[in-house]
Amino acid sequence: MITIYSAKKIITMNPARPVVSHVAVRGGRIVGAGSLEELKRWGDHNLDDRFADKVLMPGLVEGHAHTMEGTLWRHVYCGFFDRMDPDGKMWGGAKTKDAVLDRLKQADAAMADVDAPLPGWQLDPIYFDNERVSRADLDKVSTTRPIGVLHASGHIMNVNSKALELAGLLKHGINHPGVPLGSDGFPTGELKGPDIMTPVGIHVGFDRDMLACDERGLRDFGKLCVRAGVTTVTDLAARLKDEAADMMIKVTAEPNYPARVVPLRFFQGLTPQELIDHAASLKKKSTDRLRLGMIKIVADGSIQGFSARMRFPGYFNGAPNGLWYVPPEQLLETYELALKRGLHVHTHTNGDEATQLAIEMMEKALIKHPTPDHRYTLQHCQLADAAQFRRMAKLGMCVNLFANHHFYWGDEHYNLTVGPERAERMNACRTALANGLPMAIHSDAPITPLGPMFTAWCAVNRITASGRVQGEYEKISVDDALYAITLGAAYTLKLDGEVGSIEAGKHADFAVLEDDPTEIGGDKLKDVRVWGTVQAGRIFEAAALSA
């Protein structure tokens, strides 16, 4: 039986009929999008008016997120900005260091066991004048339980004395660039970099594998998707051992799982050949709601962590060049093997030198294994210049730019990491599109919140957290931004034939909105209210999600 939904407006992203009033659905797929008169001709149907006062869009596609956000919400939210948890509770931003400590004290008071660890996340001291949260501050919350708060960047953690003691670090004589010492010669409690966060993190309640997501976390992540209007989402770096892959297959197959998840196999710990073989074997396990078989490589570090690989003139504050996470030869070998095997690779590059390396290795690999329509994508690619975008376009590559980064850390990039000129061209959406490069934009959740409408707002307005427009020239139109969070992102995943627009034959995936993103005004795009989603014909109302 066909169900025909009416809506106040249906924005299809199909240029041949961009706006329609009705969409007909059967068996989770779209039979047609058009007028009621047109769709009635399919025969027996139910007319469903529940969305009569809503705006429908194609289900939004998040091309760079991590399902671990679902797991992080079990820890105390210490972020500066308001953020909604999977159950729909809006957590107000903690605007001062004291507010962060108060929130931790509340969590501490609610815990029966005085020795149990207390983990928090999303701290960002740059918003309170970089005043650090010290060991002594966190000791005011508790001296009996280990406490650790992960920064929003994911690269730094602040812990209390108990946590340092448990990890054997509450002592003199430590000599490590990631462990600053106080005037008393003891560590301040700030830990920089994964090598040192991990051994302390396990004492404060963070999971051993910080990239991993457990069953409950994956279910909670699904709820976040519904609240953001997202129906297709990536999990951009997963190890996908057998038990993890099986868990993801099981959870996403649950009747009420609301999203299509695309996990990419993380490259580390495998030779290129092992990586290719594992990805190929995962691909065979794919289901409709868990699309396996893609690969993620990380070429360099992060710009704000000064570990991204930069070309001349390097970091604005004179910091030495960053770190490679893959040798050039290994990158090339992986591209070659993956092209030969028909596997799809996405590569993290932040600095422009890493982007240049990826482009050059890609060109070499393509000359050896010419491959039509490979859509190899550079993720973040934040500092790419016009010449790099031109070359990527010629090579058939795609880009997924980190539009949200510009809002959250744009001021920091302007003042500290890359300086004014390059900060203005970071995440250069307009230049990418002008050079014909297929483009998505992303949140990198949990680094920034999952919410493609917000991401679109970032790309349209390029406003930083301090309220400055940074890079006027690189702003894009609302239409281009909406394309990037639907068909644009779907294209980078080779799913644009299945999702990303509302037209006959595609999955019945819709974002159900209270406001019209094409009418509300580009400056208000982030305020578009999301009622919920329809995913493969199944209806998910955000307000009705069970806790």
Binding site: T198, Q273, E274, E329
Partner: protein, 299 residues
Amino acid sequence: MLPITIIGGYLGAGKTTVVNHLLRNADGVRLAILVNEFGSLPIDADLIEAQDEDIISIAGGCVCCSYGNDLTLALMDLAKLDPAPDHVVLEASGVALPGAIAASVSLLQGYTLDGIIVLTDVETVMEQASDVYIGDTIERQLIDADLVVLNKTDLISDDELQGVSKWMRDKAPRAETICSRHGAVAPAILLQSFLSQDRGDLMLPAHDADVLKSQAFTIEEAVDVEKLAEGLASRDLGLLRAKGFVDPIVGVRCAIQVVGRRWSVEDASPDAPLGLVTIGRQSTFDETAILSLISESAL
């Protein structure tokens, strides 16, 4: 405390060959080898006793583990192995900075750093160091090395080798260098666990350009342990390695470890045999200087 040796160097420098050579010559020392990925480490099938996803058990009590995306966790797990290994060898990935790894290892409970060894392919290292992408990485690997192995010396002429050696003194200022072919470096030079008096005369296969010499010294009087250790690590003596047990005061025993310029002093069991074993180059080995250092250190 579990001694750990970090073996770094770019792709093709011969890290895997050296690690395999160590495994084949473990000679009763229970090694735990940590590698980034198993796939690059071809271990002879007859040596493998058992294998699962993260650990390979090897004849003679050795194990090999892959650390994947979290080296720190792998090291913490390794420290809990029962029975514990005698020595951990960490094969760093080709772009890793061994000095940074050593700094992180220094924060882990239960570990003591034995040394940083950086392998180089003498035929390509200077070219790699000028590569636009990886040149600075190569230099940052070398600058923290205690020992640099100039590997594959059979592929270049003696003149070229001299050029590389001279260049290396500039790029690896803290390091002693040693030549090798096919990664065949004596375990006693790479790992302190192979260097002890009760293991008898040391076999020291090395490239002809590096005729090595090992000598043991008896020290029965109490000594200023730190003065002795620092002296043994001085550039003047040019020792590759030294290891021994001495008494700062009667009834208290300390262990001295030296690799290149790096030295350490730790508490030791009172049963440990008094004395010192050293390895240096035949051409520069100065027994007299070592003997006078020992007598100058006497309390």
